[in-house]
Assembly symmetry: D2
Homo-oligomer: 359 residues x 4
């Protein structure tokens, strides 16, 4: 069983390679009656797109999205929604060297070993370009969640290399995130991050970082124990994004050194609602949303593509060196924000529709 | 769609509540011809069982496992394998107070809100007793992996509270893990951990920690891009275990502050095999195993059950206090090792069988 | 991916072999709040059970069903419901001859070829005893459908061999069906059927037949185009029952010789409801229920087990003869009614819960 | 959970409405290394296409298929294969009358009732145009099966209205099927069928019929008991095709009047292979292929679209009459052959890949 589908009820299947004719997705299971704005999808796509700013790769990808099915007079009909983007800037020659060797810490070797062959042009299926299909599907998910229950999803860059932003998770918004090119809500840290990324580029090297995520107005009751806990499905969603290395929710790894008496969230009544007076749990208890904000963080490794000589082997098994050429991101974080938001939206839309049938 | 099934080909469905008649699982999709040792399953079950040592809860659970189907003359037949454990020590009265309030940072409130009712006896479905079904299924998975390709899976306690063990991941084995009651391969740290757990118990409080995992002899090619990457499915598997708060692979969150030039793993030839000279990636690249050891870590929060007064609300919406009674673990880590190993085994067995059909 | 699970949201996984320790099922995805009557499940089980009457096999199977999980104080909790029946009358010696040869038109050869081994005791997994798990799950499904929307499901024996009953599908009820041992609502045909079955037994031979099914009070809108049409899933459900050879809905194969002008069902208003004035479609149009009665029929082949010498081969590839011994049904139809009802209930419960999330 | 995906390992998801921008499919799970001929896919598409001959609708649909992903240098890479056809002849005005009423025995009413709205142009998603996505996916499946194990799949028109062809299932081939426009291998019956279809058209009426299917060189061991029997999945596959009303395998409904002693298939040795001397079972026993030819038949109702006044109701609930205009098939059988072959190929490819992981 192959792995290009995510979700059980709101099901997203992506397709496409970096340098093939097109990329895109099918969303099957979006409920009928959701108003779809093509312009809003395009806006989301543009946040993932390369060439947005001087700190992202200068590759130009049009990413002009087209809706092929499932939407009639701007409303979802309950049938599969297919979204497609033609690939335009297909300079395969930049990549021809790749066909004969394995780039370190890329997916070249594992794809070749698994499938016996690979589309080596630009990383093929393992390219970050595949995320365009996720972002398109994520836009649909976000519209569903907003129209059905006012859910609000904001991802932001929390850390780049050693520089960590100071972020107020109660006020952070997409506007604030979009106020600088690195997408860190802390403007001072943001400037330092831009500098650090520029420096890494000058060094022919790359940086990692952390994306933070806050989700507000989450309905109580999302998540299906025992395996499809909301925590577990969010972890899977995030760890399916290229270059991710870690996931944590609420206090995450910091909870390890806390005691139960400080970590537990006391219940209180707020009007007629059961709420918690603290939110160390990050909005999920026993795998089910409790109505508090969902708070999590995703670690990204430094980009594998660097402009330095690295030891590797050829497909024929001979040792060699490889040094990347062309247009690449020294740090994927600013563009990863769109993917994190998309995967969060898809996961939540799926669980929102799932819980309808269980209660 | 409910969530009690894990896996696509090697599919595990668990059932059972803490104080119902029985718990267990069905494994559908285990290939035929695997030799099954009931004694070995029982051994694994005993590692999860309460009452093993003075640092775990003194509740007595028999956990005597029975194979109901799918095995004929000790060999799997390719039909569903059902495994069952009767619940024995069902002192519901210890828990009767639970029926009227929500224990902080437990699943009481979210289950009630989601389902409109709940089996409040001992946490019902959200009890760690559910993990017995996982451990039984994990034993089957481990036998499959060992007989088919000599895979070796070792989980161990790396950290309890502030105490972190020094662990040599190249040599750690189950024997070493079992050499002390806290299951930390570092004997000095282990002693400190036991003391810390004892102290927490005396304080009526609880501790969190980290479980480390190493998997050896992993076949190259496991993992199904783009969503069912091995990394993503391991993350989901681990984050579905109760009390988990974080997951990381390879360098994990530490990779954030590394540069590409130090994080990338150079390829080298070792005999006729393509290998890497370092293993910052933790054995998975592009979501597919590359043949190096899989290395990951799972963060557990401090146990929610503490012997102290905590503010909470009743199911009728009145503010009250709750203080746990009875027999509870001040730290789940020593018993969590069995669950982490089981979920790793299930995930790998599933991907092992999945890749057979894709190449 | 193995095949012991049916359904997407109301998911039934059965386990067990004819002569293993136990058989049963897990139902995952039954919504919470359904009242469960153990006595009613047992009643349904007894209709499938051998030894009910002189025209069924005289094997005694206790079929005493036990609920292991998912039900608290007689109400479903939303967690997996596990149901188990111990196997009691395990006279393996009656079957020992089976281990060395392939019984014609049984599953012996195909199981051996597929899995490399088989549990040969009493047909193992391919025994009609497996249907006990289906019937138990079907009882749960029926309670859900009845409590949520008054759905009524009645299956009956329409034909045995050449004898076809005259059945009024608008009035047929379980009481009428249960009024004779062959379960045919036409009492005159029923007597002839009993005689025919007796004659077949005396001849050491067997008979086939047709089970009819009517479902009333079906909500409009069940069925998920394009592949999971209600028609398609009913067909699959029925053709998964052992010994089935054909399925038809509405006019079925007779529609082939009708013209559109006579087959089409005109729409009419009945009060505020859109209804059809005829029901050639059998209650499903475009794969979705239209609120009219669902009408379908299932063809069963004559039982493969006969008390006559038949040419076959041994597992070693030598030609031989086989003649069944022991206690067998010369006609499975009277006991198949319970399986057809169960599969109909499971299919409809699944689609009932599925449509909740789609609209 | 919506229903536009078929298959567990070889998974086909179709998308598209009759008069939307495009239709197509994604095939996820096709193994790598299969040679793909675009010309052959196009040939298959042309068999489903309207306007092929004087007995099919004269609508012109280009059906020019494009491969968007998953194939590199004409070889499958193991990644999702996306296939798309632009819709060209979108004369929505022919259908505008449809928006306000429900055509009898079409899916207009059930879609409206289920989803609350519908794309009424040309039947939207329920149009037979959707089958183009199935046929494209079926071509991929057929190539896989032919290259991996020489499987041969032939569907043919067996009956139209009252006219039944005499077909030799041991010799029927695609060439023979393609030798006349009605696709019946019996040339005399074929002529009568053409005349009958012409007559129905002149009458403004429509005809049903039966498609027969034979599959040769089927590997032993395909089919996953107990629910995903090959019989069950073939039944579902066929009954998911628009206008189908019945399915039977082997002797089908005729087996009902046979006795076990004549219906059972004796085993014999042929060389080193276990075979059967008759094939009443139609190649599947216990839900698993036994290596004999798979033989089944599918009943199609007369086309719902007729050029006669029919009573119906408007979407506002008023009684009215409807008479179809424009270009329609009086009998779908000649074009249905392509869909039956496609669904057979998809089902078998799926089970072929599934069994790899189970044994």
């Amino acid at each position: 069983m192959a792995g290009s589908t995510f979700g059980s009820v709101f099901r997203v299947t992506t397709f496409g390679e970096s340098h093939g004719p097109a990329i895109g997705c099918i969303v099957d299971g979006c409920c009928s009656g959701i108003h779809i704005s093509l312009a809003e999808i395009q806006q989301d796509m543009d946040r993932r797109r390369p060439g947005q700013s001087r700190i992202t790769t200068q590759r130009q990808e049009g990413d002009e999205v087209e809706i092929l099915s499932g939407v009639f007079e701007e409303i979802t009909t309950g049938t599969p929604i297919s979204l497609m983007v033609r690939n335009q800037d297909q300079r395969s020659k930049d990549y021809s060297e790749m066909s004969g060797l394995y780039r370190p810490s890329h997916a070249d070797y594992t794809y070749q070993a698994k499938y016996g062959l690979r589309d080596w042009r630009g990383g093929g299926r393992s390219s970050y370009r595949e995320a365009a299909g996720r972002v398109a599907a994520g836009s649909i998910a976000r519209m569903l969640l907003r129209q059905e229950c006012s859910v609000e999803i904001v991802a932001y860059v929390l850390q780049v290399g050693n520089i960590r932003g100071a972020v107020d998770i109660t006020t952070v918004s997409r506007d604030i995130v979009e106020s600088n090119i690195v997408r860190c809500p802390d403007p001072i840290a943001a400037e330092q991050m831009v500098e650090a990324i520029d420096q890494a580029r000058r060094d022919g090297d790359s940086l990692g970082g952390i994306v933070g995520l806050v989700v507000r107005n989450v309905p109580v009751g999302l998540g299906e124990p025992v395996f499809d806990k909301l925590t577990a499905d969010l972890a899977k969603a995030m760890m399916s994004i290229p270059a991710t290395r870690g996931f944590e929710i609420g206090e995450g790894f910091d909870s390890v050194t806390m005691r139960g008496s400080t970590h537990n969230d006391p219940f209180v009544m707020r009007g007629n609602s059961v709420r918690t007076s603290s939110n160390h749990s990050g909005g999920i208890q026993g795998g089910i949303s409790n109505g508090e904000d969902i708070l999590c963080r995703v670690a990204f490794k430094p980009t594998a593509t660097i402009m330095r000589d690295q030891a590797t082997v050829t497909t024929a098994g001979e040792e060699t060196y490889f040094k990347a050429k062309g247009r690449h991101d020294p740090c994927v974080l600013p563009r990863a924000v769109a993917a994190v938001e998309a995967m969060a939206a898809i996961t939540l839309a799926d669980h929102y529709l799932r819980q309808r049938s269980q209660t």
